[in-house]
């Protein structure tokens, strides 16, 4: 609990699970949830470095706050896009959204 690598591994695990989720889910909302997981992995990384390495332990916290702000914005946009896609395609299945197919 007091070593940096524990936290880093935890973060990496969360991030990889997020990636797995993004790839595997068919529903757009599921993907959004997975992306939130990835963002949290990154936040944990920041906080861990902040706790163990950084010269000024305020900066990492501030970064984490910013990540949260960005995540909120991203979630709002993503949700509205999902709503728009749903209205247009009648589905939130990502595999239906392939109008750009070559």
């Amino acid at each position: 609990m007091n070593s940096l690598t524990t936290y880093l591994f935890l973060a990496a695990l969360l991030f990889s699970l997020g990636i797995f989720g993004v790839f595997q889910r068919r529903s757009l909302i599921g993907m959004l949830i997975a992306i939130e997981l990835m963002l949290n992995g990154a936040s944990i990384n920041f906080m861990a470095f902040n706790r163990f390495l950084a010269p000024d332990p305020i900066v990492g916290q501030i970064y984490t706050l910013f990540i949260m702000g960005i995540a909120a914005a991203e979630a709002a946009i993503a949700l509205s896009i999902i709503v728009a896609v749903f209205r247009r395609l009648g589905s939130i299945n990502i595999e239906r959204a392939q109008e750009l197919r070559g």
Binding site: L13, F15, R25
Partner: protein, 178 residues
């Protein structure tokens, strides 16, 4: 008695608590990723994020932990739930799982994890030579309003634009005939 005393030493308690929180986080993450029902995913995400908040406490920042709960759990997850409720994707049939796809995703996820853990374990992490011990919320607030003043303002602007954009995108889709 002695053994019980030693069992409930704060150090050990903290260890146990940490293990519990990590377990909570991972369980939440798994629930957020695997089940096909979207509501379970959301609940799993909430669990996971609560665990992450606990980890932040362990990392020495109760303020960020509170913010985590407030923003992620309180705002983002709730808005996702609202989106699900309002756009009725629950009524749609659950998409089937395609095994090859899951396999591929698992492979890539594992590759990324291997890469990350390899990097983590191979790197010599060196703490900075001079480390300040000032963790207080007061300093954080002072920083936000002085040194990171501009970023703070820009973030608020981004949020405003995002909200407006979200309204426009969602509203435009409603008005468009197709």
């Amino acid at each position: 008695m002695n053994s019980v005393q030693s069992l409930i030493q704060p150090q050990v308690l903290a260890q146990i608590g940490f293990a519990g929180i990590v377990a909570l986080t991972l369980t939440g993450a798994l629930i957020a990723v695997f089940p096909r029902n979207i509501l379970y995913n959301i609940l799993g995400l909430i669990v996971c994020l609560t665990g992450v908040a606990g980890i932040f406490v362990y990392l020495g920042s109760p303020f960020i932990a509170l913010m985590e709960l407030l923003i992620y759990v309180g705002a983002i997850c709730i808005s996702i739930i609202f989106a699900i409720m309002l756009s009725r994707p629950l009524h749609l049939s659950l998409p089937k799982r395609a095994l090859p796809k899951v396999g591929l995703a698992l492979g890539v996820g594992a590759a990324v994890f291997i890469m990350l853990s390899a990097i983590i374990s191979r790197t010599e992490w060196q703490p900075a030579a001079m480390r300040s011990s000032d963790w207080s919320i007061a300093t954080l607030g002072a920083y936000l309003l002085t040194r990171y003043n501009l970023v703070f303002e820009v973030i608020s602007l981004v949020l405003l634009v995002a909200i407006l954009g979200a309204i426009i995108i969602a509203g435009y889709a409603r008005r468009s005939p197709s």
